[in-house]
């Protein structure tokens, strides 16, 4: 199922049994891959991340080594100093993103289950958005594992109060959360070390933005809206990033 795969140039090494999308289906720029290709320690690290033959399912791969050296088989050499630190900080960011995605996915699940949304168009949007958030959860979880990290579990959420207040509150909350998600990803872009992780984050970032804009529109937060993160085009022509502390603070009401 294509939607679960972030396509990257797939290793031509035969022992990595990944599905092979057409060469044109490239996500990451040539220069990012060249960097990988030119740096043997990076390359070894990525092969190690994939865990060798058969460890990766095509449905959940986010990161794939670029092609080339069939003789660079999966190496057991541990990552060196700086790479460990880079990985560690990227893993923190990925787990932060994962928590937000869990939150969003769970919220849409509860909204749909509540039956509050009667309008077919809106219900379809909620369903579709929820499905996308679940895909984000799955992809981030798989990536974290492949990088040797431990994915956080789904947090306990507190949406009952929101749901009790009815449809308008629910849609407003959805809009708020999506806007937060977009701002969160934007806030982390500069901190991500690994270019493939960055590419994935960017691919999710703009989807959260689409969700946010659609929901803003639905709840009447027009583009002339005032205030932080209100209005379908926050801050006018430029989106605002939010840092981890601010986002975590903002989502606290929804965590049990």
């Amino acid at each position: 199922m294509r939607q679960n795969v972030i396509w990257l140039p797939v290793a031509r090494a035969k022992h990595l049994q990944l599905s092979t999308p057409s060469p044109e289906a490239r996500f990451v720029t040539d220069s990012a891959l060249r960097e990988l290709a030119d740096d043997p320690s990076s390359r070894k690290r990525f092969f190690k991340m994939l865990g060798g033959a058969g460890a990766v399912s095509a449905a959940t791969v986010i990161l794939a080594a670029c092609g080339g050296d069939d003789d660079e088989a999966a190496s057991d050499a541990p990552p060196e100093g700086k790479e460990v630190d880079n990985n560690k900080s990227d893993l923190e960011i990925l787990n932060y993103a994962l928590t937000l995605e869990f939150l969003e996915a769970e919220f849409y699940d509860k909204v749909i289950a509540s039956g509050l949304v009667k309008d077919k168009m809106v219900a379809n949007l909620a369903k579709k958005f929820g499905e996308s958030e679940q895909e984000h959860v799955d992809a981030l979880t798989a990536t974290i594992k492949q990088m040797g990290g431990k994915p956080v579990s789904a947090p306990k959420t507190k949406f009952e109060e929101t749901l009790d207040k009815g449809l308008e509150e629910v849609l407003n909350t959805a809009a708020t959360v999506e806007n937060l998600g977009a701002a969160a990803y934007l806030g982390q872009a500069g901190a991500i070390k690994n270019k493939e992780v960055l590419a994935a984050a960017l691919a999710i970032h703009t989807v959260e933005a689409r969700h946010a804009a659609a929901l803003n529109q639905l709840v009447g937060r027009g583009f002339m809206g005032k205030g932080e993160l209100s209005g379908s085009v926050p801050s006018g022509a430029f989106a605002k990033p939010m840092d981890m502390a601010a986002v975590n603070e903002a989502v606290k009401p929804f965590l049990a």
Binding site: D30, K195, H205, H211, A237
Partner: protein, 212 residues
């Protein structure tokens, strides 16, 4: 490399008046494997390297070219398209103004980096403004294309400041895309992961709109 394959085939159906010459050189197979920084400096993304801006300047000028296009598209749309609702008309103007701000910001950033901002091409959008439907369809394609262009280019950006700027802009383009799609009764966010496109494919896709 299938450099002539359009990232958005429907762009090819737009009627173009009197295209006289190539404004962009499509990267040849030779350049296909090169990093962004080594892209042959031709057409509108040209003298930045000579001015010492380097790779980030190239990427900014690429983005600037796309923003020139989007801005001009909405400038013309605001004047020409008939049959838009009040909301759609207001939205068109808002989008136009947003893109103008993007143009200004990107040009200023290029200058700050010691580069030379790409100049604004002459655009021709053919029959895009003939109807509300054709306008919205083209707008949809342009916004989605813009998102995939930024997402494709951003991982190559060296400076975190430039990356922050690009991220801040692409998020708005994504919002634009969603709003236009809603107006068209299309899904605002059809994919869980937005596409990222290579520069040569984007340039090929917008080539029909460039007159000079």
């Amino acid at each position: 490399m299938a450099s002539s394959r359009l990232v958005a085939p429907e762009l090819a159906t737009i009627k173009v008046h009197g295209m006289t010459r190539e404004a962009f050189l499509i990267r040849s197979t030779l350049a296909a494997g090169a990093a962004y920084g080594a892209m042959s400096a031709t057409g509108l993304i040209s003298s930045a390297l000579a001015d010492g801006g380097g790779d980030d300047v190239d990427i900014l000028n690429y983005a600037l070219t796309l923003e020139y296009l989007e801005n001009e598209f909405y400038v013309q749309a605001a004047k020409q398209v008939k049959g838009l609702s009040k909301y759609e008309s207001d939205l068109t103007k808002e989008l136009r103004d947003n893109e103008a701000e993007h143009v200004d910001a990107l040009a200023a950033t290029v200058k700050k980096l010691g580069g030379k901002p790409a100049s604004k091409p002459t655009f021709d959008f053919g029959g895009a403004f003939a109807s509300r439907a054709s306008y919205l369809k083209t707008a949809n394609t342009l916004e989605d294309t813009g998102v995939s262009a930024y997402n494709g280019a951003a991982p190559s950006i060296k400076s975190t400041e430039v990356l922050a700027a690009a991220g801040s802009i692409v998020q708005i383009e994504a919002r634009h895309a969603a709003l236009i799609r809603l107006v068209r009764d299309k899904p605002p966010a059809p994919r869980a992961f937005d596409k990222a496109s290579e520069m040569d494919k984007i340039l090929a896709a917008i080539k029909p709109f460039i007159r000079a």
